[in-house]
């Protein structure tokens, strides 16, 4: 019954799914249960999701992308008439247009493959109240302000200042690192270890934080080491 609310079309490079009106959570659940009922059909599929005029934020979309990828379904693009959704999609490296002519749609994506892990790239200031959660690595070009929070399954690289909260290796990876041009976090977590950085003395400089003997340790970044 739920599945009737979903419209599915084959397109050149994958499957186009149109969500009907209604609560995002309900429609998302309907979609997932439809996929679960037809796992063989959806296996390794690349889907383009049309969410209509819904205003979705990055965490909504990244949550869906993660759940889909658990089912071996790749979320390739999100189509929407909402600018908010388009922006969130772009932040996550998702396409926002049906580009049927392009033979290599992956090219315009900002996802990068790092040793088989995925990363998201955020080119902006992350402000108080922003929360980015991603199973792969997180790369930020900009500042992470107090009150903002980054949670990554992998590493966190910030080309800017880290003054909010960063949690690398959130799934338990003890080899995860956090690097920043100015490492002054409110709180830093690696795997399940938590630390609070002492106030900085002197000029900010690039640092890398990692776990050493079960302790969060920060070290000056020196090229070539």
């Amino acid at each position: 019954m739920q599945a009737q609310e979903i419209e599915i079309k084959g397109i050149k490079n994958g499957i186009l799914i149109e969500l009907k009106d209604g609560e995002w959570e309900d429609q998302k659940d309907a979609l997932l249960s439809h996929i679960d009922d037809n796992l063989a059909f959806f296996k390794s599929a690349r889907i383009v999701l049309d969410v209509g005029d819904r205003s979705l934020k990055s965490p909504d979309l990244s949550g869906l992308r993660n759940t889909l990828s658990d089912r071996d379904v790749k979320l390739k693009a999100v189509l929407s008439t909402s600018l908010v959704t388009e922006r969130a999609s772009q932040d996550l490296g998702l396409e926002i247009k049906l580009d049927e002519s392009s033979p290599e749609p992956e090219k315009s994506s900002i996802n990068s493959m790092l040793d088989g892990d995925e990363a998201i790239f955020l080119h902006r200031t992350l402000r108080s109240g922003h929360k980015v959660k991603y199973q792969g690595h997180i790369v930020v070009l900009g500042d992470v302000n107090p009150g903002a929070e980054l949670i990554a399954g992998g590493n966190i690289i910030i080309w800017g200042r880290l003054r909010g909260v960063a949690h690398a290796g959130a799934g338990g990876d003890t080899s995860a690192v956090v690097c920043s041009l100015d490492l002054s976090p409110t709180q830093l977590r690696i795997s399940d270890k938590i630390s609070v950085s002492p106030p900085r003395k002197g000029k900010p400089h690039p640092e890398i934080a990692f776990l050493e003997d079960g302790q969060v340790t920060a070290r000056d970044w020196a090229a070539g080491k």
Partner: protein
């Protein structure tokens, strides 16, 4: 000509939005511009008090929205400055009486006959804030140089950006150069450094603000007051003039650095 709609908002309450709305509106009107100030803080009406127009209110914003009067009937003419109007908010209603699309409609109705519409927003991120920013062409975020206010300003800037209203401009209010010098207050530099948006102006802490508020005469009409001059400068910057930031602390060169960073100085 079509008016530009500017919404003045903040994360934390009490940082000076209403004072700024009244003064920026008054300063623009003294420059010959046609200005309407809208009090969008429904249920907590006070822009009328700051402008000294409380006793002239017959109809308010909610009356206009709900069609009990024509919009022009809810526009109160200022007693000092020609071409300055106030649309007061309702005292007795809550913010659900007005929707974002009502605000857009009201502002669109005002645009043809005015140069500026300045909307005084309630603090925070609830419905009243959404109403206030819906019609905005430009948003000004006010903060005091204080850690918690700056943190809330940062949050609001993020939300304004997410609402596709562009990056807001910053107004730092109640800066006290003495306290900054003694390291007891964040400097304007510190604030701008964190928020990383364009600084429209700095208004110093000034006891005369409170006095003028109580008298219902905008401080910007007082040329001797530093805060009043700061508001005049902000109005001129909105008009596109390049005015350096006021030297609040002569001799130290303290503000010179910021003015050069933002290109509004020499």
């Amino acid at each position: 000509m079509s008016a530009k709609v500017i919404t003045i908002t903040s994360g934390k309450g009490g940082v000076g939005k209403t004072t700024a709305t009244a003064n920026i509106g008054a300063a623009l009107a003294t420059m010959g511009q046609r200005v309407a100030c809208i009090d969008a803080d429904i249920g907590l009406r006070n822009l009328d008090v700051v402008l000294g127009l409380e006793n002239r209110i017959v109809y308010d914003l909610v009356d206009a929205v709900e069609g009990r009067c024509r919009l022009s009937q809810a526009m109160i003419k200022d007693k000092h400055i020609p071409d300055l109007y106030l649309i007061p908010s309702a005292q007795t209603r809550d913010k659900t009486a007005v929707s974002p699309s009502d605000m857009i409609r009201i502002c669109d109705e005002l645009r043809p006959d005015l140069d500026w519409v300045i909307v005084d927003s309630p603090a925070g991120i609830e419905r009243g804030f959404k109403n206030a920013i819906a019609p905005a062409d430009e948003v000004i975020v006010i903060t005091n140089p204080e850690v918690s206010a700056v943190r809330d300003a940062d949050r609001i800037i993020g939300i304004v950006e997410a609402e596709e209203k562009g990056t807001p401009k910053l107004l730092i209010n109640r800066l006290n150069p003495e306290m900054v010098k003694q390291n007891n207050m964040l400097s304007a530099d510190d604030v701008v450094d964190l928020l990383a948006i364009h600084l429209l102006g700095i208004v110093p802490e000034d006891k005369a603000v409170l006095i003028s508020t109580n008298q219902g005469t905008p401080i910007t009409l007082d040329n001797k007051s530093l805060a009043g001059q700061a508001y005049q400068n902000i109005a001129r910057r909105l008009m596109g003039e390049e005015i350096p930031l006021l030297d609040l602390d002569k001799g130290s060169g303290f503000f010179n650095r910021i003015s050069s960073v933002f290109g509004s100085g020499d």
